[in-house]
Symmetry: C2
Subunit: 125 residues, 2 copies
DNA sequence: CCCTATGTTCAACGTTTATTGAACTATTGA
DNA sequence: TCAATAGTTCAATAAACGTTGAACATAGGG
């Protein structure tokens, strides 16, 4: 397991890749859950998303989200803690992330997103 | 040529499809150009985009943009006039389209988007 | 009525994508 | 030291995607 995986610099973040990343339902669910987590300022690790897909499939989606600049991965022991690259995204594409998140929230049921209480509860357990 | 092609209703517009549609550089360029055109409140037809791709390839992208609810196609003679579904998109996903357009504008050069004056000039010629 | 202009549709192609399970690596705790 | 935990990597598969050219449909102008 190599330490601290590759992340693009802020300037390297590209709009088409970000939008493509967000167009996948599983990745959208991950981003949405990370966005909810921002409020309690804690991170989530891979294991918190096992409801969404199998382990190896999740690793695939995490890699995409990292490589397109949507999230940051911090290695700690056997865990990888993840959070949104909020500052970089807001600097690069002002208002975009918020618009996407709130659009997703409006369609939470249709998109099969976890509700906020489920997310927080899952994070605490 | 069948009359008035299929458009989804406002409620049928889905976020993942919209984001996926916008993640393609050619479709982004089309949407961007249509957004510029809103300001002079005129429509554009297929022929206005021939700089972006071949005819049949454009038809493919137009179909995608129409089917995901991003644009409206109006048939008039041998022409198809197109415009953004601004009202429906703003109602469904408030702030999203504007954030995407202005994010694209910031990266206009990187995304190889036509500048505003080029767009307007092309529309007038 | 033909000819042209405007777009669509179709089949073909090569590429990329998401998903799976199995094998693997690294870390922690007993 | 051994076993369990957390996550990655790899190979394989099927589906979806973007691009192309040729054929087709439709409308308008001479």
């Amino acid at each position: 397991m190599s330490r601290t995986p590759l992340h693009p610099t802020r300037e390297q973040i590209e709009l088409p890749m970000v939008l493509d990343c967000l167009s996948d339902p599983i990745r959208m669910a991950i981003v949405y859950q990370l966005a909810q987590q921002e409020r309690v300022s804690s991170e989530l690790c891979c294991g918190d998303f096992t409801a969404l897909a199998g382990k190896s499939n999740l690793a695939y989606h995490f890699a995409k989200l990292r490589e397109c600049g949507l999230m940051l991965t911090r290695v700690a022991g056997t865990n990888r803690f993840m959070r949104l690259r909020r500052e970089d995204l807001d600097a690069r594409f002002p208002g975009l992330l918020d618009a996407v998140i709130s659009s997703a929230a409006k369609d939470a049921e249709r998109l099969q997103l976890m509700s906020e209480c489920e997310t927080v509860a899952a994070a605490r357990s």
